[in-house]
């Protein structure tokens, strides 16, 4: 489908919405990340965002949902909603937990006292790698992350 790669005929508006549901098992994370990264590849998001920002931030949100939100209870589900356009990516990760206070839980792993800690880098990386993080409740705990395309 060679000639079609000509960017001039890329549609004016493409809007992709995905919903993915997985059991509370961390082994699903990699595949979910792959599916989302593929969508961003469709829009030719910059490599940095496709290979660093999106995979890492999404992995963090997913593992928190599975391990913290759902406490790895096998029956509990994690839902992922993805909404992508050429301009921005919105990721929502929903777990069945009671939620948490984002500001309270967020620590700075770069402080000397924290540098050698094994944990506590997840929320920090999400805030560093995404442009905006929101947490709210909507029939479960939702973490919403927004990334603006930057090229």
């Amino acid at each position: 489908m060679g000639a079609s790669n000509s960017p001039s005929f890329f549609p004016d508006r493409v809007h992709i919405a995905l919903e993915i549901e997985i059991p509370s098992d961390v082994r699903y994370i990699e595949r979910v990340v792959e599916i989302v990264a593929m969508q961003c590849a469709q829009f030719a998001y910059p490599a940095r965002q496709r290979c660093l920002n999106i995979p890492v931030a999404l992995s963090e949100a997913l593992s928190n949902a599975i391990l913290r939100g759902n406490g790895e209870r096998v029956g509990a589900r994690v839902q992922v909603k993805v909404d992508v356009t050429r301009e921005r990516l919105i990721l929502e990760v929903l777990d069945e937990g009671l939620g948490f206070d984002f500001e309270d839980c967020l620590t700075d792993p770069t402080e000397p006292g924290n540098l050698e800690r094994e944990d506590g880098r997840g929320l920090f990386l999400m805030t560093q790698l995404m442009d905006r993080i929101e947490r709210f409740s909507n029939q479960g705990n939702v973490v919403r992350m927004t990334l603006t395309r930057n090229d």
Binding site: V26, E116, D119, G122, L125
Partner: protein, 110 residues
């Protein structure tokens, strides 16, 4: 994801192929700790084949580094691509680890 472990002189070299994330980090940890228990003291983890690393992957590296140092050993990292370098810089872990650009450099300077 998979790990390839081999010895080069007295150095244990680990190649991480694919992602180093919550779903597989324990495997890496266990294999390195096994070598440490066998008496190995010099460790090099090569990331040339690595995709992304999440916070729990970073956590395992921090904890291995500590355990190895406690035994008088040393852990070095090599071949971080630009994205992984940024990840280490964001978390200031680039100040905690000996990071070499190439595997050869890392092996030489042990």
């Amino acid at each position: 994801m998979s790990f390839a472990i081999k010895k080069q002189g007295d150095i244990v070299v680990v190649d991480v192929e694919g992602q180093l994330i919550v779903g597989n980090r324990q495997e890496l940890k266990q294999r390195v700790l096994d070598e440490l228990e066998k008496g190995e003291r010099k460790f090099l983890i090569d990331f040339s084949q690595t995709g992304y690393i999440d916070s729990s992957g970073l956590g395992v590296l921090v904890s291995l580094s500590k355990k190895i140092r406690e035994q008088g050993g040393e852990l070095r990292l090599a071949n971080l691509n630009d994205d992984l370098k940024t990840l280490f810089e964001l978390t200031k872990l680039d100040t905690l680890f000996q990071i070499s650009d190439t595997r050869e450099r890392a092996l030489e300077t042990f």
